[in-house]
Symmetry: C2
């Protein structure tokens, strides 16, 4: 199972935005849509062995589960519509319990620390995709791990602190978009047969 966690710093916390203005009114939800596409979409297929967690403003988590995921198309607008549906039912969330919005997509009221606690309980290790990390191609990866990425903004100091006991990986000499990092990560794992 490949796990990607994207920390979204400005993303909308309600469904009250226009799909015509995801970069603006939805707080760069377009970035998250592209991350979802990069995580799951193959040419004419879905990667089933993938789990994606979108952490919105450290308050909400939208989880997408490849094994059961339905209705996902590669374009940004239709993915945005799926995320909007998840945001629409958040009032049904009690405590940190998840509610399923469409098949394979779940929302819960949870912050990064709580998510990390869940990972720790399952012995899932932290791998931060970070410009200051060691070179991906020269690094052996933990067997069970989650890859953490930041959206269009840098990891903030409190996030860096929470992730500080993990591995840091650098993917190359250029500063890349989060979705491009996911594509590179998948390819490396594909080539390693992991």
């Amino acid at each position: 199972m490949r796990i990607f966690v994207i920390l979204a710093h400005k993303a909308a916390l309600t469904h009250e935005f226009s799909l015509n203005d995801m970069p603006g009114g939805a707080g760069r939800l377009d970035v998250l849509c592209r991350c979802v596409t990069a995580s799951f979409c193959l040419s004419h297929g879905i990667r089933k062995d993938v789990h994606v967690f979108l952490v919105l403003q450290n308050q909400l988590v939208i989880r997408l589960h490849g094994e059961t995921l339905r209705h996902l198309n590669p374009d940004e607008r239709s993915t945005g519509a799926l995320l909007q549906k998840a945001l629409k039912i958040q009032s049904e969330c009690v405590g940190t319990e998840e509610v399923e919005s469409t098949t394979g997509i779940f929302i819960s009221k949870k912050n990064l620390a709580q998510l990390l606690e869940e990972f720790r309980a399952k012995s899932i290790q932290i791998v931060q995709l970070h410009e200051a990390g060691t070179s991906l191609r020269e690094t052996e990866l933990p067997k069970e791990c989650a890859f953490f990425l930041s959206d269009h903004m840098e990891f903030d100091p409190s996030e860096d602190e929470l992730l500080s006991n993990g591995l840091r990986l650098n993917l190359g000499p250029k500063s890349l978009h989060a979705d491009h990092c996911i594509t590179l990560m998948h390819n490396e794992l594909d080539l390693r047969g992991l």
Copy 2:
């Protein structure tokens, strides 16, 4: 200069489509938008050393020139709007001459064979990103080359024939989207310092 050529088999040949329906009414223009983003967009910057040619149904070519390109944002919708503007002025095209629609974006009436003739005249070699190719990581690349990709459809036999005197590269064991291939190609070139 890194050159990417994307062969689009169904993409709209007119501007008469809705930006709300790029996967449908615009003939998978969303695929081309993602290819443009992958070609040019870095985190908070544009790759200036990139040239993209979108070949629409073997009839029109939209060329995007990184050196002068303006108004490009990473989201699909705004990129779609730029391509739509290019399609809108195609009636001004005479012969195979280009017309500029917005800064750094040009349209012309040209087919793949004519584009290849231009490349040949400039000694630009053909590299086809193709599942049946040799492994990218183990292959030395020509100094001056153009990378050819197909959109959501396979290269058709006439395209394979036109590109047959080039190199074929395989990027990994999975069948990937064209934009993901561009991201991988950029990363490999970045890591090689090319």
